[in-house]
């Protein structure tokens, strides 16, 4: 039984290994689980699952394997009914007349009594009919049939009283990693962009140099210190904001927060649709507090790496012609500014949240592809990875 459980967990892509299986056996041997199903569930969960994202998968497998194993509750609202009797089949519709007949069978206590008797009599799996326990019948016992006094057995929902099993609750549903995408993956992708260098205050002992200079000093101690290794990559993030970018706001936020914790030297600015002569840092004060792009080019030295984030979807006029901007009159065309950026910053990429297969249908995307010399990457983990490689060149 446990081997099946183990194999099915592996099939459900819960990463369990023999080591964990043996640990579970050992724990069972030492009596940690106290012979109760709930404790066994908690124990096996703690031994076999190592990541909260797999808890839901585990619950599903556990529910499947150990179906019908829960202990009968005091009132006997759930009996140990073999699972195969209760296989889910179509619900049966009854006539009004039949419904009345079933109601006539008696009250709650009578029902429980009859259930006990029926269980003793019954030997085989049963389906349909109006006496035996099974599925889709009109007997008061079993599931998916119709009987107003019926006892529900073996269903996930509407269980009576305290018979609800913990693993049927599936409390960990939203921790499944197919549902939630965190910033961690992005951080790991950004980690590619690391260039360590020793700069700043000297805080670490430089062993080789100390030995060398001590020897040179005729054995008289001469301690040498060096600065700590730090990531010295400097990053300039430019976000397209508003308009068509609203649909991608979440993925941009994730990228931003991941980048913020990963890099010490990080500057960010916003623009709208295409880069023109003005940028801003606070979107609410975009018309008041602006930062001129010319100043940006002078302020941040060429060793900064530049990442544009935008969907690059607009009218080609907004890029190619002076006065093309939808918001204001721009003296110089967007492409002039893009060209200046490309000339100043050797490492420059454009991340585009629009799926790559749609790029060829939008002329403005192709235009910006040219302006960034084909350094546009989709804003996915894979695209981010290639973008970081490009920046590292």
């Amino acid at each position: 039984m446990f081997v099946n459980f183990f194999l099915e967990l592996r099939q459900a892509k819960v990463p369990v290994s023999i080591k964990e299986y043996l640990a579970l056996m050992e724990a069972m041997d030492k009596g940690v689980a106290d012979y109760s199903v709930d404790d066994f569930y908690y124990l096996s969960r703690s031994v076999l699952v190592k990541d909260e994202r797999n808890l839901d998968k585990f619950d599903r497998v556990f529910g499947h394997i150990f179906k019908g194993l829960e202990a009968p509750a005091g009132e006997g609202t759930t009996a140990e009914i073999p699972e195969e009797w209760l296989r889910k089949l179509a619900e049966k519709l009854l006539t009004e007349e039949e419904k009345k007949q079933i109601e006539a069978l008696g009250g709650w206590e009578k029902l429980m009594e009859t259930l006990k008797k029926r269980l003793e009599e019954q030997q085989k799996r049963h389906q349909g009919g109006s006496k035996w326990i099974g599925t889709a019948g009109t007997s008061p016992f079993g599931a998916y049939g119709y009987n107003p006094e019926g006892v529900r057995i073996g269903q996930d929902k509407n269980r009576e009283g305290r018979a609800v099993k913990v693993w049927d609750k599936r409390e960990y549903k939203n921790l499944d990693d197919t549902v939630e995408i965190g910033t961690r993956n992005i951080k790991i992708a950004l980690r590619r962009l690391r260039k360590f260098a020793r700069e700043g205050a000297e805080v670490e002992l430089d062993m080789p140099d100390t030995i060398r200079s001590t020897a040179r000093n005729a054995g008289y101690l001469d301690i040498k210190m060096i600065p700590e290794r730090r990531n010295k990559v400097k990053l300039l993030l430019l976000f397209d904001i508003g308009g068509s970018m609203d649909a991608h706001i979440r993925v941009c936020e994730e990228l931003f927060s991941a980048a913020r914790t990963e890099f010490k030297h990080l500057e960010f600015f916003y623009f709208h649709n295409c880069l023109y002569e003005k940028l801003w840092k606070d979107n609410r004060r975009r018309h008041v507090d602006t930062f001129s792009t010319a100043q940006l080019l002078h302020t941040y030295p060429p060793d900064y790496k530049v990442i544009f984030v935008g969907d690059a979807s607009m009218s080609p006029y907004e890029i190619a012609y002076p006065g093309g901007s939808v918001e204001h009159w721009n003296e110089e065309a967007g492409q002039v500014w893009m060209q200046r950026m490309a000339d100043t910053y050797r490492s420059m990429v454009w991340l585009n949240p629009v799926p790559e297969r749609h790029w060829s249908y939008t002329p403005s995307i192709q235009l910006l592809q040219q302006l960034t010399s084909s350094r546009m990457f989709p804003l996915t983990l894979g695209g981010l990875d290639s973008a970081m490689r490009e920046l590292n060149k």
Binding site: D39, Y42, S46, V47, K50, L55, L175, L221
Partner: protein
């Protein structure tokens, strides 16, 4: 040595089983969960409950695995050699014991807390694999093996800032502290504030769980924030009625500073209150 929770810590069934499994099978227990659900406190309580000394090792971004074992202080030995100090002759004088060494050689079986393991570098857990598995390590300088007389109860907490390597996870038991539901939360509050008025608690919990439900919060308030807030409510002597006044003018709960730790979240609430007020006028 069975852990069943303490007077000051409410442990759910699953947590109890996980802790007991880790104690009796002598494996490290990895604890994850939202911040403020009592991960670190658990180690303190386990050590109290089973009467074992607690050894804490707090991990920082610069912590190296080696520091947990021992450190060889070469600089002071060099210095002493210049001064002709007698201690120089014995290298043992310059080996500083780390927390793991302390735990391995402790007279009683201790509880070792490795707090916030995810803060360290990505390689950190890998460097501790053998040490946690066999509970022994080798000291190169003195060529001796430090071996645990009794395997310590190891508790490791993580805030999920970094993914831990598989090989490391395989050696641990794992427990994810789920955010407590109302019932458990009431017990937890009872443990901390035994004399709290029933209806004040009920209203406070209503507000608290409502806040957690608000979509788009940057930082959801957690157990420790709730406890702080309740303490404030008691100090300020708030009445249950003042909490109940659910009219939209007062959508932001009183003394919200203890619950909302982020100015964006406070803004979000103000905006919601404003919208609710506008709806009412229409």
């Amino acid at each position: 040595m069975k852990f069943t929770g303490t007077d000051s810590y409410v442990a759910s069934d699953d947590l109890r089983v996980a802790v007991n499994a880790a104690i009796s099978l002598q494996r490290p227990l990895l604890i994850k969960g939202e911040p403020g659900t009592g991960k670190t406190v658990l180690a303190h309580e386990v050590s109290k409950a089973i009467g074992a000394p607690l050894i804490e090792w707090h991990i920082k971004s610069t912590t190296k695995a080696q520091q947990g074992l021992y450190e060889y202080d070469a600089v002071s030995r060099l210095r002493d050699s210049q001064l002709g100090d007698e201690r120089v002759k014995d290298i043992k004088n310059y080996i500083k014991r780390g927390k793991l060494w302390d735990a391995f050689t402790s007279a009683e079986r201790p509880v070792l807390l490795i707090d916030e393991i995810d803060k360290a570098d990505i390689e950190f857990p890998n460097d501790l694999l053998l040490e946690l598995d066999r509970m022994e390590f080798y000291v190169y300088e003195t060529q001796e093996v430090v071996k645990a007389a009794q395997r310590p109860v190891v508790m490791i907490t993580s805030n999920n800032e970094k993914e831990l390597p598989d090989a490391f996870l395989r050696r641990c038991f794992f427990h994810y502290i789920r955010f407590p539901d109302r019932e458990i939360m009431t017990q937890i509050v009872d443990v901390h504030f035994p004399g709290l008025q029933r209806n004040l608690l009920r209203e406070a919990l209503n507000i608290f769980y409502d806040i957690r439900e608000v979509p788009g919060l940057k930082k959801k308030p957690s157990t420790s924030e709730l406890l702080d807030w309740l303490k404030l409510l008691m100090v300020e002597d708030m009445s249950p009625e003042s909490l109940r006044s659910k009219d939209s003018k007062q959508l932001i709960p009183p003394l919200h500073g203890a619950l909302l730790k982020n100015e964006q979240d406070v803004h979000l609430f103000e905006r919601l209150a404003f919208m609710a007020r506008r709806e009412q006028r229409q």
